[in-house]
Symmetry: C2
Subunit: 148 residues, 2 copies
């Protein structure tokens, strides 16, 4: 299996596969005589696992830890639970701040209904006023999008 075949089978860009190899997430495959990478079914399985975890939005470092657990099947699985708990907590925190964000944006959108000039636009006025007011509910504490 060459890299593009593996990529197609897993729905992954070939660059991404090479990136995973560089960062140690995917083991370096054997090479053909011409230097091309040669993959087997185990690589596909591992790659699919990685992609599934990425679909759950886990960082690569945590996926690496899960793979380490799989390599030592006799170890206690407590760490696995912790990893999933942490991910779930991150997702829930982001979910909450995104919900607040959605409310704020919807309210903001409601400030302007028709076509005015920018000078009279309720959205712009609201944004300026909210930025000015120190006790704005949103921008001191939660950074909305990315922070856990």
């Amino acid at each position: 299996m060459r890299i593009s075949e593996l990529g197609q089978a897993a729905g992954v860009n070939a660059d991404t596969i090479r990136y995973y190899e560089r960062t140690g997430l995917l083991p370096a495959p054997a090479r053909q005589a011409n230097g091309y990478r040669s993959y087997g079914p185990l690589h596909l399985e591992r790659l699919a696992f990685i992609r599934h975890c990425r679909a759950l939005d886990m960082p690569l470092a945590e996926i690496q830890q899960l793979l380490d657990f799989m390599a030592r099947p006799d170890a206690a699985c407590e760490g696995i639970n912790h990893l999933v708990d942490a991910q779930l907590a991150r997702v829930r925190a982001r979910l909450e701040s995104m919900r607040a964000l959605e409310r704020q944006l919807a309210a903001l959108r409601g400030q302007c209904d028709a076509n005015h000039t920018a000078r009279k636009c309720g959205i712009l006025h609201e944004l300026v006023a909210a930025a000015h007011g120190e006790a704005c509910a949103c921008h001191p504490p939660a950074k909305a999008g990315k922070s856990a």
Copy 2:
């Protein structure tokens, strides 16, 4: 007002202020005789506006556009509405995929309750099985976190 004072007033790192200046979001301030940046209240207002928009998770490029609208108050405000609509659509799309993600993670977490070995861990089994099954509901379409 020096850079750290401005930063403290707006709750922003000084590096971030310099970054905004570099990228043209914040106008270059006057300099004192020693080369230190010297800010006035207008800078603070503009910076607060930027941070408020960032709290609404708008990309810097869109914030720049909003600032451009403010600079031309006689232009039609239609573009402003579009910007907010686009941001709202992005946020709602992410919200939806995050909700799906949260459900999946919660279900996954339910697979393991106590302390086993990794070999018997329901979470790990579930992850492997889900990655293996091609018709997995989550990982082909939605990339969850960051994609709009």
